[in-house]
């Protein structure tokens, strides 16, 4: 077996007396599409925040590409190849669609401040390249027509897609999607499922998906990890998870599955 792309080893985070994530271990291989599910408050988003460095682990390790990401600043982790979207869309509200994606190209620039001030030939070439890359991405996701719109005036579904485009512009190896289907109608959800699979194949990505909608999760994930109260209670294929008694207890014991 080859080395996993992402590996969590006993990752734990504690806020005050509360263990939001406890001794969590799982791994994702390159190109894999993994689902992370669990009842409300199970700690799914916290896991995202741990992986991307927004929160720091209290104990345990997280490896990406064989190197630990614990204690790294989020932008450095992104530079290593992890990109994410947010549960509550966090686009750059005052920027255009184009600029939102352009910001994510920032870290791949060869030149910085002096370049933007002097504006020599190298600068124009680089800016042209960035524009080309961004427009290609926008085209793939059908947002090229909205290039100069303010992102906040986009319809909700488009905002979700724009967040994915923006994440892809960082050229990740692993994409973390936080409830991408939230607030979508069934037709949109089907579209989204196609989109995620397409993205995974096209960009040769591993994807970690947090989602409440079981249809989406069961429909596209190759493997699923289930959390409850910050602990992993099950892991397996969609078929295994569907019949797991602990999972059923966790969901039914508290509330019904989100439809």
């Amino acid at each position: 077996m080859s080395d996993p792309l992402l590996q969590l080893e006993n990752a734990t985070v504690q806020f005050g007396g509360l263990k939001a994530v406890a001794d969590l271990s799982f791994q994702i291989d390159a190109g894999e599409l993994v689902g992370l599910i669990g009842p409300n408050g199970a700690g799914k988003t916290t896991v995202f925040n741990l992986i991307t460095g927004v929160y720091q682990t209290t104990s345990g390790q997280i490896f990406f590409d064989k190197k630990s990401v614990v204690g790294r600043r989020p932008y450095k982790i992104t530079a290593r190849g992890i990109a994410r979207t947010f549960q509550n869309i966090r686009l750059f509200a005052s920027l255009s669609v184009f600029d939102n994606v352009r910001c994510a190209c920032n870290m791949h620039l060869a030149h910085g401040i002096s370049h933007s001030l002097w504006r020599g030939a190298g600068f124009s070439k680089e800016e042209a390249q960035v524009e080309k890359d961004v427009m290609e991405l926008l085209e793939i996701f059908g947002l090229d027509g909205e290039r100069d719109m303010m992102c906040r005036s986009l319809p909700y579904g488009d905002q979700r897609r724009l967040e994915i485009v923006r994440a892809l512009a960082t050229r990740p190896k692993l994409l973390l999607l936080d409830e991408p289907a939230a607030g979508m109608n069934p037709t949109e959800k089907v579209e989204l499922m196609k989109l995620i699979r397409f993205t995974q194949k096209k960009f040769k990505l591993a994807v970690l998906l947090v989602e409440h909608d079981m249809k989406v999760v069961m429909g596209i994930c190759e493997r699923i990890v289930v959390l409850d109260y910050g602990q992993k209670i099950a892991e397996g294929t969609p078929a295994q998870i569907r019949s797991d008694s602990k999972v059923i207890a966790a969901y039914l014991g508290k509330e019904t599955v989100d439809a």
């Binding site: 600043r73 992104t78 994410r84 966090r90 686009l91 509200a93 352009r102 994510a104 920032n106 870290m107």
Partner: protein, 328 residues
């Protein structure tokens, strides 16, 4: 403004150079106001980089201005013997003094920028205000800098060319910096720091850079101010002066350089306009008195502006909308 070539900057600089002999002819009072406008533009445009584009709220810009003013005056007063020699050495020493003032202010900007990494919004505003007061306090105690007396004896080197040359340079730097893929990072930091980090943007670097550059230009402005007024006093760089600059940025629209420059012009002329209004004896007495107390008008302007047009008179890219989740 996205595609402004360097040639425009060069054209403006040449224009200043050619224009300065003619401008020298005008009434010294208007010349005084004109230089005041140039200095205000430098201050407002540089603060706009920090407050407008990067979304950090600095209430201490006058402190940096003060550092620049004192540092550059110290240089010209210490190397005064080079000044009279000939035009070349005078210009060199003066320019070095300005740059030295700018650098000192930039270093102070670094010291303020670092706390900005841990603090946001009103906390940051208070800390920058505190820095402003500390800078003032240190100058007040520095005997070689004249302490409470103030520092005088500088020769007037600041002229139309240098003032508007540096104003053009400041605007050029701010506009070009922001209008590039690299510079969009400033706006990303303003809109959403967490998302910006997640997109691989080093928010630390951008915030510190904004503070350092903003402070650098404020320092230059301070140097120009000192060699134009020829006397500086710690009270001239207090919190109220900072508020003056903040009002320019807010009136012009945070993150709108053209608007902010226009506001700088407007708010520099306004007090002089009010000065003449206060002499119009045909006006009712209370109106004359209100005109004399320009701070009352300023504060009312600030309140009304915030209530009705928080994006400033001339629009601007606007402040980020309130996000419910961030407020918790």
């Amino acid at each position: 403004m996205d595609k402004w070539p360097k040639s425009i900057l060069i054209a403006v600089l040449l224009g200043c150079l050619i224009g300065s002999p003619f401008v020298f002819q005008i009434n010294p009072y208007y010349y005084d106001i004109l230089l005041g406008i140039g200095i205000s533009i430098i201050l407002a445009a540089s603060l706009n980089l920090v407050n407008g584009y990067t979304g950090q709220f600095s209430l201490g810009h006058a402190g940096f201005m003060g550092i620049g003013a004192y540092a550059s005056s110290w240089v010209t007063l210490s190397y005064g013997y080079c000044l009279g020699a000939n035009t070349t050495s005078t210009t060199t020493v003066f320019l070095l003094a300005l740059l030295g003032g700018g650098l000192m202010a930039g270093i102070a900007g670094l010291m303020v920028g670092v706390p900005s990494l841990r603090l946001k919004g009103d906390y940051l505003a208070i800390v920058t205000l505190a820095f402003n007061e500390i800078i003032k306090g240190v100058i007040q105690n520095a005997e070689p800098l004249g302490a409470q007396r103030g520092l005088g004896g500088m020769v007037q080197h600041t002229n139309f060319f240098w003032t508007f040359g540096f104003a053009a340079l400041t605007v050029y730097v701010v506009v070009h910096l922001v209008n590039s893929t690299y510079g969009r990072g400033f706006l990303a930091v303003r809109d959403d720091e967490i998302a910006a980090e997640a997109m691989g943007i080093n928010t630390t670097k951008y915030k510190v850079l904004a503070f350092v550059l903003g402070a650098f230009f404020a320092g230059i402005a301070g140097g120009l101010y000192a060699h134009f007024k020829q006397f500086i006093h710690p009270e001239g760089f207090n919190f109220l002066r900072s508020v003056d600059i903040v009002v320019m940025v807010i009136l012009g629209g945070m993150g709108n350089t053209a608007g902010v420059c226009f506001a700088a012009v407007l708010l520099t002329i306004l007090p002089e306009f009010l000065r003449s209004v206060s002499h119009y004896t045909w006006l009712p007495l209370w109106l004359q008195q209100i005109a004399e107390n320009r701070m009352i008008l300023y504060s009312l302007l600030l309140i009304v502006l915030m209530l009705t047009r928080p994006q400033g008179l001339f629009g601007g890219l606007g402040m980020p909308r309130r996000r419910k989740d961030v407020e918790k």
